[in-house]
């Protein structure tokens, strides 16, 4: 893999995001919805923390991240520019990683735009900084995991809607896994609990960085990036 190639492709992808409205629209909606869930406990019950936000954001992200990532490969397939891209001297790994990095930068930027909201907490109360940082870290790492899933979904079809639905369904599966354990047989409860994001996210958002949780999220990221690379390689075999 060539770093210069990744830089060139990443710059091109970021330019695409910045030159088109979807990234702005989605970021605005994300900030609006998160702002509502941030402000509600603050003003209604005088609670200056991010608990309410931590509860709802994973569900919001199952929708927003696939919406932002659905175009990554599907659009190239639809407009046939994938043929241009795959015949330029880039490896499949460079293409997928660049697309991932570019969307990750946009998403992380979008999440950091939320930071001014959080600053208001420091004016109004004395929040736990470890908790705040943990919440941001969990939000970012969860987004990056869902992004990897969305990128893979985007390689599966030339239709962005299909990619979105697939990305949403897989992300939602991971979201749901931790929540349905009580309905499952005892023997598989632990497995599903580990598979779901809840258990891992709870630690991170409390500001507790456990290697096990990081391995979980990075496994999702690498696994779906690997699947995406395999899928792109298989396009040459069709």
């Amino acid at each position: 893999m060539n770093i210069e190639n990744i830089k060139t492709l990443t710059a091109k992808e970021i330019r695409h995001y910045l030159n088109n409205p979807p990234a702005y629209i989605l970021s605005s909606f994300f900030l609006l919805i998160c702002g509502y869930f941030f402000a509600q406990p603050l003003f209604l019950i005088n609670q200056g923390n991010l608990n309410s936000l931590n509860d709802i954001t994973p569900l919001i992200l199952t929708f927003f991240i696939p919406a932002l990532g659905m175009r990554l490969v599907a659009e190239e397939r639809k407009t046939q520019t994938i043929e241009v891209l795959l015949t330029l001297p880039y490896s499949e790994e460079e293409i997928i990683i660049s697309k991932y990095i570019s969307a990750a930068i946009i998403i992380t930027g979008g999440i950091l735009l939320f930071f001014p909201y959080v600053l208001t907490l420091y004016f109004l109360s004395k929040p736990d900084s470890g908790h705040i940082l943990g919440s941001f870290l969990s939000l970012i790492i969860l987004s990056l995991s869902f992004l990897s899933i969305s990128l893979y979904s985007s390689t599966l079809s030339s239709s962005q809607i299909t990619s979105f639905i697939t990305g949403f369904a897989i992300s939602f599966f991971f979201y749901l896994c931790g929540k349905i354990t009580m309905f499952l047989p005892l023997a598989i409860q632990n497995f599903f609990s580990y598979l779901g994001i809840d258990m891992h996210l709870a630690n991170l958002s409390r500001g507790v960085i456990d290697l096990k949780d990081l391995i979980y999220f990075f496994s999702i990221i690498f696994l779906f990036l690997y699947f995406s690379i395999i899928k792109i390689k298989s396009m040459r075999l069709k």
């Binding site: 210069e4 710059a11 407009t79 520019t81 241009v84 330029l88 040459r236 069709k238």
Partner: protein, 301 residues
Amino acid sequence: MIKVENLVKNYGDFTALKGISFEAKPNKITALLGPNGAGKTTTLRILSGYFSYDSGEIYFFDKKFSTSPDFRRMIGYIPENNPLYEDMEVSDYLKFIARTYGLPKSAIEMSIENCSLKEVIGKNIGSLSKGYRQRVSLAKAIMPDPKILLLDEPTSGLDPNQAFQTRELIKNLKKDKIIIVSTHILSEAEYLCDDIIIINKGNIVVSGTKDEVIKKHSSNSYIIKIEGKNEINFENIGKIKSVEHFYDANIDETTIKITFDEEKDLRRDIIEKILKDGLKLLEISKERITLDEIFSKITGE
């Protein structure tokens, strides 16, 4: 040189290429002709590294072909339907291509100059006419000065002036390059190309230099026009395959189409015979078969 041997490509149960073999030489433009679905685009997609193939061998300059980025560096490719990043400005797109190949700014300027893109450099690609879009793709393909240019229907959808300019541009590029052009427009192939390959249903049915192909499929026929109602006996000139006489009473002129079995040019003998018989020769021409006729004859369309 590009050497393709027994290339086979299957799409599921359908065999798109049934073991084709051909060569494309440097400093020459090779035309890949064939009806829709014949396998032209598949061949170019394989050579560009976009598609893999099921069996056969491909060599670029005696090196075994692979789809690695290093091989793709050798190739400038314009795909069918000319896909482009519509939301990018021409200048951004060309800068992206230059960075991809690690080229200096002068390479961008040269490709802008060669493809006459100065007028549209700040415009979005999506807003360009088909002619300019084609030029943008051509600029992209030639910018890294590749050894191999693969052009899939480069003048498709262009108006006659744009098509002419594009053809001229391609013709001027052939020095030190191997150019393969897939086209439906047979007059274009006849004007542009040195070598011709006709593919039909996944097989190569004709290949060779343009002159060889035309000569091979031409018959030694002559159209002769003489004054008055006359019939001439050409038997002592050569072995006759067929002869047809048409007399037009309105202009008092006979048209004779005569085909000989041998390949030798017999115009001089024919003229001498007519003059010797005391007839007035109005016109004589050797019938020349066009690529269109060869194409129709071979592909049956």
